[in-house]
Amino acid sequence: MGLPFLPVRGVIGTDYTVVRPDFKTIKNPYGADEILVVPAVSPDVSLIHAFKADKFGNCIVNSSIDDALLARASQKVIVSAEEIVDTEELKTSQRGNFVSRIHVDAVVHMPRGAAPTSCGSYYSADIEVLKSYQAAAKDPQTFSSYVKEFCLRLRDGGDAA
């Protein structure tokens, strides 16, 4: 949106205003109430995992989360996708939201790129892997072996989980 801040209902009277001094209470200039304003979130780079993308960066993303909004809010956008398809196929795709190439800087073909979390109708969350993450995260040493096994495998030439 290119705006420095937005007003939000609620929040005043909670401890958010204690730990977030950047959340400011102002008088509503158009009413008698007080209202909270919060600074814009303007990411330098967003990584978005799409269902399908074409080679130009047009893509279909999950419509139940805010990926399309994130793409429009960011300076740079890198899209990874389960499938790389022709532009025509994107136009007939039923599920998900369309994000135009005008917001996208790079496309990566990355099947199972959302694993171990879920990805639409492609795959469900892998509860066992998530549990092993939960256990591993308690200790720096076990955490780094988790990262090695599940996160660095692709970089090191292995297959996705």
């Binding site: 939000v8 209902r9 609620g10 929040v11 005043i12 009277g13 909670t14 401890d15 958010y16 204690v18 730990v19 509503n28 009413g31 109430d33 007080e34 209202i35 419509s63 139940s64 989360i65 805010d66 990926d67 399309a68 909004l69 939201n97």
Partner: protein, 247 residues
């Protein structure tokens, strides 16, 4: 004669009975009991109610992500929403942030998501808690993620309708701003509820009724069509929360 029922079935039934036909019920993440309640209301006396359940494909008619959902809430379009907290305090404030000091917490919790707006802008918010202990019902929460009682200078459309736990229903006394005991579930006593509450708990308007348990009709709906729907959203919950055949 009262049939056997689970605490989850009782809690869902009490919530469902509140809904009037045509009211809009929105349910957030990790909310299996409210989801069960919303679907039970639809399957019984509120067939024209809209039900939105975050994380479910069948019950999520939004096309523009959670932004669309939260904007609709902020417009005051939801009659019901459901919140919980690791702690709930005397004034109905909830804590989803930290146990202990915020900057050096004993436990870091998931955070508030939209609760600091939803509690203010949904007409009737029901707090649900699957345990009722002195650790979860405290005099003052360690961190106020969202509040039931706020200054009059803040625009507030709605707020706390009631709190439901496996033992009791609590309501806010608007004059004192404190929670009071409204009803006690069958099998529990006023003394037991008070022993498990970390603040003084007066009886609402001087007496606490027994919560009405699910009827045979309600249990049949719960264990039939409602369970089928809930299984698609919360399979592990559905397996343990619903009782068996009514004998």
């Amino acid at each position: 004669m009262t049939a056997y029922y689970t605490p989850e079935e009782l809690m869902a039934t009490v919530i469902a009975r509140q809904v009037k036909n045509g009211e809009t019920i929105a349910v957030g993440t990790f909310s299996p009991i409210p989801s069960t309640a919303a679907i039970l209301a639809r399957e019984s006396h509120a067939p024209d109610s809209d039900v939105y359940i975050m994380g479910s494909r069948d019950w999520w008619p939004f096309s523009e992500g959670s932004q669309e959902f939260f904007n609709m809430a902020q417009k005051g379009r939801f009659d019901y929403f459901f919140l919980s907290g690791a702690q709930i305090d005397r004034n109905g404030s909830i804590n989803l942030h930290t146990i202990g000091n915020y900057h050096q917490p004993k436990v870091r919790l998931p955070g508030g998501a939209g609760s600091s707006m939803l509690y203010y802008m949904v007409k009737k918010v029901i707090l649900f808690k699957t345990d009722h202990t002195v650790k979860s019902f405290v005099e003052k929460v360690d961190f106020v993620t969202s509040a039931a009682v706020t200054p009059p200078s803040v625009h507030r459309l709605g707020g706390l309708h009631f709190v439901i736990t496996p033992m009791a229903v609590l309501v806010l006394n608007k004059e004192t701003g404190s929670l009071e005991l409204f009803s006690v579930h069958p099998g529990h006593s006023v003394e037991e509820v008070r022993e498990n509450t970390g603040f003084e708990l007066p009886l609402f308007e001087g007496n606490a009724d027994e919560t009405k348990p699910p009827t045979a009709e309600e249990l049949a709906l719960l264990r039939g069509p409602v369970k089928d729907h809930v299984t698609k959203i919360y399979p592990a919950f559905a397996k343990k929360a619903f009782g068996g055949e009514i004998g």
